[in-house]
Amino acid sequence: MSWLKQVLQSGHFAVTAEVGPPKGSDPQVIRKKCNLLKGFVDAVNITDNQTAIVRMSSFASCLIAQEQGIEPVMQMVTRDRNRIALQSDFLGACALGIPNLLCLTGDHQSMGNHPQSKNVYDIDSIQLLQIFKNMRDQKVFQNGEEVKGEMNVFLGAGESPYADPLEFRALRLAKKIAAGAEFIQTQAIFDVDIFTQWMEEVCRLGLHKKSFILAGVIPVKSAKALRYMKNEVPGVVIPDSLIERMEAAVDQKAEGVEVCIETIQKVAQIEGVSGVHIMAIAWESIVPEIVQRSGLLPRPAKGEITSS
């Protein structure tokens, strides 16, 4: 059974991080990143050809992570695989004991490094959640045929509180939860005010009671990186005051860590937030420090929680 689920269900404030597989075949890359994170997080997301750049598959990387004693959250995007391949991989993941799946639509291939490719988008993330939920709970494939076996997976989805139309975002989350999302990891939060408003709406709709919401954060190394994200990364909102603060800092890297910790501490106070998801892209080594300084240690240990 998913450890992440147990941590969340037992009322602990969960911590997850992200590991991007390498643009190559060396398993050591995953092992090293996982070893850095061990003991500091409850589970690790393994991205699926994130930003449409070809990398080692999420599936294979999850198995490597598992060997290292890290619980993976396998990300699956609908950009590259149709319902046949996705259901097939779902069964494989169940068979190999991958306990968490995060269903995403995925960045359009035109934003990645093979913009000439054809995309799939046979289904969207909400339909993917529904298909997996029905396979697990109703024991049926998308076509209605029976599926056999144990499928003990914890299903999650992403959501951006910042994308437009803003008024629709919480309702869209409700759809994801109705479709089967048991946990949600949000887009990176830099503007805590907008996130707070969104969470108010989420709580008003009672969604925090139906699903665990993990607030996404990204530690940034410089004001330049922040400015780049503001302009280039869809679905993030970065207040100018934050960029100014970073610019004014003597040690921008240290300030970035500071900002990240402050954000974690702020969002942890917001009603309905059950955990954080730290996306230290290409900077996994900073995660232990962030977790520690945010007061999130020690992480719950097996045996401390009795599974339900």
């Binding site: 035109s110 988008y121 339909q127 994308a163 629709f168 759809k175």
Partner: protein, 216 residues
């Protein structure tokens, strides 16, 4: 209508190779209206080819995609080395069905089914998915106009009404949201749209239609 864009002239010249006598064939329907393959454009291209030293002539048929309209051209095609068709891909294929034995080249890149949204601007509107559901989305087709063909709401990258994939294009989901809001039908968006049956679309294989009562 079907929209196409003229191929770059160097590409057309490369296709022609050492052909000397060339017929540029325009089409009087869609590509005339989108100003890429009508009589005017056919004349222009023939003129350019003559300046380049080809023995070129032009002609425009009302609809290149119907055998009835192109049959009368058979002799004319026999008298040249090559034909450049400025029709959409359907018209070019129809010309091949005449079995002229001549080289026939596409002069256009057929781009999409769409409409002129304003003077000089055309936009894609339909993919021909074979099972129209636009009434559920306030008349904006998410399959065609959302870069990811999302059926259950906008992705996380919709910003200020624009699409994350091409920031100069409208986000289909902003349009859908705005239209349904106006119609007081936002509740429709709460329904989870099931996976679409793509078997009616091109993914189901080559498509055809028959009207028994019209068969001869």
């Amino acid at each position: 209508m079907i929209v196409g864009e003229r191929k770059p002239i160097p590409e057309i010249l490369a296709m022609l190779g050492d052909s000397k006598k060339v017929l540029v064939l325009g089409c009087g329907t869609c590509v005339t209206v989108c100003l890429t393959g009508g009589d005017k454009e056919a004349k222009e291209l023939a003129s350019l080819l003559r300046i380049k030293g080809y023995e070129a002539d032009s002609f425009t048929v009302e609809r290149q995609c119907e055998l009835e309209f192109i049959h009368p051209l058979r002799e004319r095609i026999q008298s040249v080395d090559a034909v450049i068709s400025l029709a959409c891909g359907i018209g070019v294929q129809a010309l091949y069905e005449l079995d002229s034995g001549k080289s026939i080249y596409p002069g256009l890149n057929t781009t999409f089914m769409g409409m002129p949204v304003k003077q000089g601007n055309w936009e894609e509107r339909c993919w021909g998915c074979g099972d129209c559901i636009i009434h559920l989305f306030g008349g904006t087709c998410p399959i065609t106009r959302c870069a990811k063909s999302l059926l259950n709401g906008p992705c996380g990258g919709s910003k200020d009404g624009k699409c994350e994939v091409k920031p100069d294009r409208d986000c289909a989901w902003q349009l859908i949201y705005d239209r349904l809001k106006k119609l007081n039908r936002l509740d429709w968006l709460l329904t989870i749209q099931p996976p679409k049956d793509w078997s009616t679309s091109r993914y189901g294989g080559h498509r055809k239609m028959t009207r028994e009562d019209m068969l001869l």
